[in-house]
Symmetry: C2
DNA sequence: TATATTTGCAACCAAAAGGTTTCATAATTT
DNA sequence: AAATTATGAAACCTTTTGGTTGCAAATATA
């Protein structure tokens, strides 16, 4: 069973859950109220998030509060950032291309 | 059929493909050589990547070259970055908490 | 103590994902 | 023209996902 941060945040419901608990810890029922799926479904999502370290479940009486561990998103951030240079470089050369095109246009375009 | 960037990068093979074509465009067979799954499987992955805008397929003779459109990862970057404050704030407050704890300890803990 | 609440988890299901083989088609080579 | 190459896509299969209902267990409340 693959269980990494990338797979965890692939599901929109899980991304929403993370958004909810980013501000403050919530117990499972509270989280469930915000969705129209069963508690069991939400529970499963939360387990996946917990298994890959994106949240921690803390028991408090009969409730379990889910606390965000958003720093785990660093993994995603790092992966994405390694490519920023590529796409920004691409835009740079597009920019150059456009400038070049513009100067060509001043000469009234290429003939034929 | 859900088809967004988050779902696209959830698969490790697709992340590898993106890494390969970040530097330079490759045709489908070239990409396939780097994996031990069938061309058809790679083709499917590339279609998914193309459908969500992470790469563009350009025909050139009988070959199709796949060009990275890594700027699409901005979507992921933006989503992650909105939480950076949270986890950095959390570390800050952990820091505060530890300081507070330390000063409490100087008073030899709370009584009863 | 009897009842409510909050949760963990098993059993079961349909759909999606990821893979394969096979065949058709279009462009390149010989 | 014939053979080869590169690809698109259908048909099929197995595993994973995301969801459900139902029940047991633990904690709180009346």
């Amino acid at each position: 069973m693959r269980r990494d941060v990338f797979q965890a945040i692939a599901d929109p419901t899980r991304r929403e859950i993370l958004g909810m608990i980013a501000h403050k810890s919530l117990n499972i029922n509270s989280v469930t109220e915000n969705f129209d799926v069963s508690r069991a479904a939400i529970y499963k999502h939360m387990k996946i998030l917990a298994e890959c370290g994106l949240l921690e479940i803390k028991q408090q009486g009969r409730e379990r509060f889910c606390e965000g561990r958003l720093e785990k998103l660093n993994e995603v951030s790092d992966w994405v950032e390694q490519y920023r240079q590529f796409w920004e470089a691409r835009f740079d050369s597009l920019d150059n291309y456009l400038k070049e095109l513009q100067s060509k246009n001043k000469k009234h375009g290429r003939k034929k």
